[in-house]
Structure formats: structure tokens, C-alpha cells
């Protein structure tokens, strides 16, 4: 497009990064939180802070307990067996109108009652891949668009580099902001490059049938409706429209399935059309012990216990499931889970520093020419970076403050939590917009808010549940203690950033300092960014 490949791609990298940066940061932030979704769930659902029972948990007991509340004509219900990370039986069922979520205590098989909340598995996680915009799957497509942009940004970012090896080791934090943020952008980009490329590509591949349905259609010569069944093994027997008898013993089915998998455990069961003569019961194989999100399942006739189908992935789908499992990190590996969390934050830093480079290299010029670009972009960056962190903390605080039966104007408790998240986010954007240039004030104030909110969240957890750090540690509630510790670390970090920003503002930078950012000057000259 311009004189050289490098200038064209620099231009593309700069402007598409600016355009898509806010959406990308949101997706990376929510994805990073989702690495610890079950731990955040324990924090937000104190009634589920249960220790796993030592005794064997019978699926027949779960079936009998479910009979008390799942309607007999429910078209489907399903449950996940408890695990160390989620020591409750998480159950979903189709009610007359909506799809319900219920938790059972594996010790007593009683429903665990608590304040209604979506938690991380119900909000951060779906927001990460669908933005919770259901209309025409528009949310999925926006996330897909951002992911493709990220792929392009990563590849173009590598191409426009001059000294990729040197950049690996270069971070001059004491230099001027435009220089040090470019260094930070390069270090985060180069250090995390394999992770960023793989996490983005795997995210796209997980939803391949949503993003590239045309490919399936061509491959199937027009009618690809069988793709999902053939590739993913989904199987539901046609309803007979005749009443069926009692469901068979789940324990017998479980034993059969586990024998087929050489002892690998069943972690999930789904029951279709339970009152019909052709009820289907599906048992799925555990995924904790290996990377792939395997699709191994056995489907049984719910009345006779006869096997309908046994599904195992073919080689390509097995590879696809490995890629999906790499993205989801649901297998048991605590070290890797922390590495993912840190690399996810590195991705956030990469995107955030990209914003900073954009407006720091243009600030003086825009001030001279009286342009408003820097002011607008910086406000956007503030709302996207510190704003979403504040909104997340407000969501956690609301979760601890709202009474269990809270409702307002037809909105349920979990709706109110969402309202607080989005209204706080909008408030941070308004605050960033109102604080006039230079924006240092807005950054300082929002960092201060983050520090304060983090501490408040930890204190509220203590006050409302009694599980303060020491007691959580001594009771073995590692998830709760971990979230509290991360919140406290976050408070310290935000406070340190606030102090540093306030100092920088106080001590004016000497105007005689030599050109701080030669490389950008040079590229800027070449490309005119």
C-alpha cells in the first residue's frame, strides 16, 4: 500500500490496533479471569465453599435428588460430578420456561441455597467468547473479528520489527513514556508471542463451525447438518412420544462406560427426554488428566440401559480437541494455570501499551495543532484498561453487598450484579472523558479506585463470610485465599502505579532532553503515522 512492505504493515498495525484495541483488551481480560473461573465462583458463592467428601458419590443418589425438582417432562437435564476445583454437583435443567442452574452438596445431596449470582463461570467466561450479545450470534462474530485482527496484528507486529532479538531484552523503564511503553509493548509481544498466537488461533478453531460454516457446507456438498453429529458425536434418539418407565440405574451405565474407557471416570451426564420411552442418557469421559477436551461419550437407552452409540474422535477432530483443551486449560496442572494467568495479563499489557504508544507519540503534535485525537483515544484507553478492572471489582463488591433476596424493578439479584458491572464501566468512561488533558489525573484517580476497591472486596469477603485469609488457609479453602491474595497484590500494584504517575506529573520532564523515541520518529517519518 505504501512504499515498502514494512511501512504498509506498520500503518495497518497502528490503525487497526487502535480501532480494535478496546474490544481485544476486554476479551483478553475476561479470558485471563476465566483461567480461575471456578476459584472465583467459590469466592462469589460462599455457600459452595465445601470440602470434597472422602466417600464414593453415587450417581443414583444424584438421580433421586434431581427427581425432587427437575420437572418430569423436562426435555433435558445434565450435571457435572464434583471435583477438587468445584466441590459441588453443578446441575442444569430445562424448566417450563428457562434453563435453570442448581448446586447440590455431594455430602448430603441437598440443594445448596445462596444468593443468586452468575459468578465467573456464568459471566466472565461467556462474556469472554460471546460478549453475552445473543442476537444473531453477533457477540461471537465480534469476538471472531477481534481474534482475526489479533492474528493480523501479531504477524504484522513481527514483520515490522527491526531487532526482534534485541527487543527481547530491552526495557528502559526510566526513559520517557513513549520510549518505555514501546519497549514494554515489544517485550510483552516477543516474550508472549507463541502464547498469543496459539491462544488466538485456538480460540478461532474452537468455534470453527460458527466462523466458517461455508467450509463445512462445501465439504458436505451443500448440506452440512450432519457435521456436528459426525465430528462431535452428539446423539439423541428420536422421541417415541410414548411414556417410558423409570430411568435405569445410572451407576450401571457409569460402570459400563468406565469399562469401555479402561477405568477413566465419567465426569458428566446428560439426560434427554427423560419421561419418553426413547429417553437418551449420555455419559462423558473425564478431561482432568490430559490436555484434550476429549469428546469420548457413550449414549444409552434410558429405559433399557442398552448402548445406542460409543463415540471417539477421529484423528483430525482429536487434534482439534487438543487445540481446544490447550485454550481452555481445564486439565489438572496448577503451575500451568498460573502461567496462563500471567501470560494472559501479559497480553493485556501488550494491548494496553499499544494504546499508550499511540497517544504518547502524538501528544505534542496534537497539542500544537489543537487536534482532539489524543484526548479521545486516551479517554478510550482509560475506560478500556483501568475502567474494566474497576467494573470487575465493582461486580465482586456488589456480589458481597447485595442481600440474598435482592431484586429491583423486575431485575433479579444476578441481573443487578450485571447492571452494576456495566454502569460502573460506563461511569469510568464518563470520568475519563470529563478529566481534561493531560489525562494523568484520570489515570491516577482510577488506579486509586482500583487499589481501594480491591481492599474493600477482600474486607467484604471477611465480613460477610468470616473466611479471612488465615481462616481460609487453615480450612483448606485455597480458592478463596488465592482470590483474596490476588486482590491484595492488585491493590499494591495499583497503588504503586498511582504513586509513580502522581510523581511524574509533579516533576516536569526537562524540555532539553534529547529525542526520546528515535525509532518511532523514524517510522513516523517513513509512514506518516
Amino acid at each position: 500500500m505504501l512504499d515498502s512492505l514494512r511501512s504498509s504493515l506498520t500503518w495497518l498495525h497502528t490503525w487497526s490496533g487502535l480501532l480494535i484495541g478496546s474490544l481485544l483488551f476486554t476479551i483478553f481480560w475476561m479470558g485471563t479471569l476465566s483461567v480461575f473461573d471456578r476459584e472465583i465462583d467459590r469466592w462469589m458463592m460462599p455457600e459452595t465453599r465445601i470440602l470434597m467428601p472422602d466417600s464414593y458419590i453415587s450417581m443414583d443418589d444424584i438421580r433421586d435428588a434431581a427427581a425432587d425438582f427437575v420437572p418430569a417432562d423436562s426435555s433435558r437435564w445434565q450435571f457435572l460430578m464434583p471435583s477438587e476445583r468445584e466441590p459441588i454437583i453443578r446441575m442444569y435443567y430445562q424448566g417450563p420456561e428457562i434453563f435453570h442452574r442448581v448446586h447440590l452438596d455431594p455430602n448430603t445431596m441437598e440443594v445448596v441455597e445462596g444468593g443468586e449470582t452468575l459468578g465467573a463461570t456464568g459471566f466472565f467466561f461467556p462474556f469472554h467468547f460471546s460478549l453475552m450479545l445473543r442476537w444473531n450470534s453477533i457477540g461471537y462474530w465480534l469476538v471472531g473479528l477481534a481474534a482475526m485482527a489479533m492474528m493480523m496484528l501479531l504477524v504484522s507486529g513481527v514483520i515490522i520489527h527491526k531487532k526482534i532479538f534485541i527487543d527481547f531484552f530491552t526495557f528502559r523503564a526510566e526513559k520517557k513514556l513513549s520510549r518505555s511503553s514501546l519497549d514494554l509493548h515489544n517485550v510483552m509481544g516477543v516474550l508472549g508471542l507463541p502464547f498469543h498466537i496459539m491462544i488466538t488461533l485456538s480460540g478461532l478453531i474452537i468455534f470453527m463451525s460458527i466462523y466458517l460454516p461455508g467450509v463445512m457446507e462445501r465439504t458436505y456438498s451443500g448440506d452440512s447438518s450432519n457435521f456436528t453429529n459426525e465430528a462431535f458425536g452428539d446423539f439423541v434418539q428420536q422421541v417415541a412420544n410414548e411414556p417410558g418407565g423409570e430411568l435405569v440405574s445410572f451407576e450401571t451405565l457409569r460402570a459400563q462406560a468406565e469399562a469401555i474407557w479402561n477405568g477413566s471416570e465419567v465426569y458428566y451426564a446428560r439426560i434427554w427426554n427423560q419421561s419418553d420411552a426413547n429417553a437418551t442418557i449420555e455419559m462423558r469421559r473425564n478431561r482432568d488428566d490430559a490436555v484434550p477436551l476429549n469428546l469420548d461419550l457413550v449414549s444409552f437407552d434410558g429405559d433399557s440401559g442398552e448402548i445406542y452409540t460409543v463415540h471417539e474422535s477421529e484423528p483430525v477432530m482429536a487434534a482439534q480437541r487438543w487445540i481446544a483443551g490447550f485454550h481452555f486449560i481445564q486439565f489438572d496442572h496448577w503451575t500451568l494455570r498460573w502461567v496462563y494467568f500471567l501470560l494472559g495479563l501479559a497480553g493485556c499489557a501488550l494491548i494496553g501499551s499499544g494504546f499508550v504508544i499511540w497517544f504518547e507519540t502524538r501528544r505534542k503534535q496534537h497539542e500544537l495543532e489543537g487536534k482532539s485525537g489524543v484526548r479521545i483515544v486516551e479517554s478510550l484507553a482509560i475506560a478500556s484498561i483501568t475502567g474494566i478492572i474497576i467494573a470487575t471489582l465493582a461486580f465482586l463488591i456488589a456480589n458481597r453487598l447485595l442481600p440474598a433476596d435482592a431484586h429491583l424493578m423486575g431485575q433479579s439479584r444476578s441481573d443487578l450484579e450485571l447492571w452494576i458491572f456495566f454502569l460502573s464501566w460506563i461511569a469510568t468512561a464518563a470520568h475519563a472523558g470529563m478529566r481534561s488533558a493531560p489525562k494523568t489525573n484520570a489515570w491516577v484517580e482510577q488506579c486509586g479506585t482500583i487499589a481501594a476497591f480491591s481492599v474493600v472486596a477482600v474486607l467484604l469477603n471477611w465480613i460477610t463470610t468470616g473466611d479471612h485469609l488465615l481462616s481460609a488457609f487453615s480450612d483448606g479453602l485455597w480458592a478463596v485465599a488465592g482470590i483474596d491474595l490476588v486482590l491484595l497484590a492488585n491493590a499494591l500494584l495499583a497503588y504503586a502505579v498511582m504513586r509513580r504517575l502522581a510523581q511524574t506529573r509533579a516533576s516536569k520532564i526537562s524540555p532539553t532532553e534529547a529525542s526520546p523515541c528515535q525509532e518511532i520518529d523514524q517510522i513516523g517519518t517513513e509512514v506518516g503515522i
Binding site: M1, L9, M152, T219, V316, G524
Partner: protein
Amino acid sequence: MTTVKPKGRAAISTAVNPIEYFQRLMLAAVLGYFFTVEVAGLLGLVLTNIMIRSEAAALSAMLGFLLYTFVILWAFADRSLLRLWITIPGGALVCYGLSQSLATGAPL
């Protein structure tokens, strides 16, 4: 395309003309998408000769994301707009024709 020699950071993005930019954006995001679908779709159809359908579809869709990344970069990197206007929509049409002919057994 006109190249105004910009002076340092003073010249902000004046180097790219908006009409050209819009064309490249369309070529990358919209036509590039259909190009990807048709090329990967044809690959999938051909692969059904050596593997089962669901496997062929999954493999070509996964490769499709890499192809699409390349097409987007290419749409902005290639200096010749004409070449892009011929190759991207043209390639999509050719692959579509081949897929239809393979699927129905009719000659092109």
C-alpha cells in the same frame, strides 16, 4: 496512490488515501472472507477422497484461519490494487465453480 512525503510525526496518516484504504479493507475483510471459505471449502471437498467428511471439513476449516490471516495481510501489503481485485474475487469464483462441478458431477 499519492505519496505526500510526511515530515516526522507531524504528518498524521495523510499518506494513505481513504478511497484506497476502503477498497483494501473490503478486499481483506469481506471478499477475503469469501475467498477463504471457497478455497478451504474446495480443499475440504477434495480431501473427502482420502478421509471421512467430518475430518476433511474440520481440517480445512482449521487451515482456513491461517489462510485468512495471510489474505488480510496480503490485501494491505500488495502494492497493486488491480492484482488484488483480480485474484481475490476471481479466486473465490473459480474455487466456487470447481466445488459445484465436483459436487454435482457437472462439467464447469
